[in-house]
Symmetry: C2
Subunit: 344 residues, 2 copies
Amino acid sequence: MSQSANKQITLKEVAEAAGVSVSTASRALAGKAEAYRISRSTERSVQAAAKRLQFQPSLLAKSLRSQRTKLLGVVLPNIANPFFASIAREITLAAEENEFSVLLADSQENGETEVHLVEQLQARQIEGLVVCPVGIQNQHLTKITRQNLPLVLVDRGFAHKDLVTVTSDHREGARVATKLLTDQGHHQIGVLQGLPDTLPNTERLRGYSEELKRCGITFDPTLIAGNHFDESSGYHAAHQLLSAHPEITALFAFSNQNALGALRATAELGRNIPDDLSLIAFDDHPFAAYLAAPLTSVCQDVSQLGRVAASLLMEQIKTGKQPIEKQHRIPVEIINRSSIAKFE
Amino acid sequence: MSQSANKQITLKEVAEAAGVSVSTASRALAGKAEAYRISRSTERSVQAAAKRLQFQPSLLAKSLRSQRTKLLGVVLPNIANPFFASIAREITLAAEENEFSVLLADSQENGETEVHLVEQLQARQIEGLVVCPVGIQNQHLTKITRQNLPLVLVDRGFAHKDLVTVTSDHREGARVATKLLTDQGHHQIGVLQGLPDTLPNTERLRGYSEELKRCGITFDPTLIAGNHFDESSGYHAAHQLLSAHPEITALFAFSNQNALGALRATAELGRNIPDDLSLIAFDDHPFAAYLAAPLTSVCQDVSQLGRVAASLLMEQIKTGKQPIEKQHRIPVEIINRSSIAKFE
DNA sequence: TTGAAAGCGCTAACAG
DNA sequence: CTGTTAGCGCTTTCAA
């Protein structure tokens, strides 16, 4: 019952069917009939044979020969996360426009896996790479740049400012979000943070503390809790903060998943938003408007993030040069709904 | 300033560095030293040279030679949709486990694009393909099966029952959802449908009408509206239905995006859920529990969908045989919340 | 125990 | 206008 996979038609067979040599067949099909002054008749017979046999040239062989694979690599921490899925999509669409294909890999938020996947992609001779790096270590990525393989980091990045990076303006977003809270009289603001030491988290913390400082509120590190951008972290952090600090009047969640966890925790605690507790979140969400307490949020332009990353990458591939500007910031937007109440 | 990309180290260079022939180098690195009785010393010197030069064998050349690419193709209508993103993720993880890589493509719900992408993937000599087909036309897919390229359809499928397909039990899900409504006394149930003539939509309609029949309610086709699984379709369909049929007491949305549109429409219309209108939706959502009216929904096991598709595919690749069972149904689960009220 | 050579499918330089 | 040939980087006979 096991049938061998149907052999692919090769150029050689097309050539034979058309009664010409492989080179002629190759040229005719590559649209170089003009340049090589191939007769109309042979050109047509080659095309006919190719069509008849349903010839599909092997991109594998083409790539080996030309040393150009038209392959892009994308490594993300979790493809199922809509945030990363949107980024993946934009890159894929840009790739398709340029006749590139995308090799997508999921590092599962694991640094070693990331290193392994990047190597694997390199072995496939990708022409460009987009990574949202998992960790704080980046040797394997600087190495890539040294090897002149076009690389763009997205969302997360490093202190190492030479790597091309596109990410949101986390600091400004967090600053404005915090201001929204302080403007309403909130002084005890708990933070549900994400993965510590990642660029987005660090910068958001910075924006938060800067705004506090501006208001003359002293920064209290015990008001920060959480260790991931996921629901579970938000849930536990909210519980912890709310029980240890009854004086907290507002929560700032660093992702919509964190906010989701906060929602679950506050529901359990019987705290009502916004009456008993104000809430603001990084990342908007389609459903945010229809929640029991329509969620005020800091909206990242995820598609734009992906598009900029993609164009930065394609540009590098086309020109062979790195962009002059390495650091790219995408502005965020505040969506004002009603999860924040005045505190007096 | 433009620097040429760093040439990859080839086996030849490793061989030279180790002072052996390419064949020996190849064998030593392939772990075939034993089989070929290569001396410990040469084996080690080859390995040392490879390591020193950071040799990464070209999978391109390997694939061309072995006619095995270890490449999977995945074509989905919209990667940014969390539903498809989850499927993509499961396939990717399964692939990574088996040392395969995944070529991901986005058909943008466009049949022609899908055909083109599938061809492109085939040209890259993928060893297996997962598609969520956009349309009702399937010639290009049956052709693939005829060519003995392992293929698995996911979510959507065709009447053509020979294609390996894994999808949810839409009919049963819709039947139970409808029963939830009829049990509460709802007889005028509007349907916010998705893309007509797709398998999920057709089967859901069937489950819906079967349940109505069982209750002795006559099926009214004018109670069906919508043409896509997206927010916009849900929004317009809800408006249309609610204005044309004031007698409607409940809405059945065929996707969570459709439900989102319904939420927007009902908010505009000032209809309160569940008091003025009951709502149930296909597809659960993390935020569903925290909506103003916690949404009762039919939850598909998306990860399972992806996992089954992946394992069906890997199995075909490994054995070279098609599975005996072509049609695979994943059970759905009803999540009872409070968007349905009794109607008397 | 190792090397030379062929060949996977394709393109391009060179030769008519 | 077209064919012959070499070679992309690798594995695997075949030969020693």
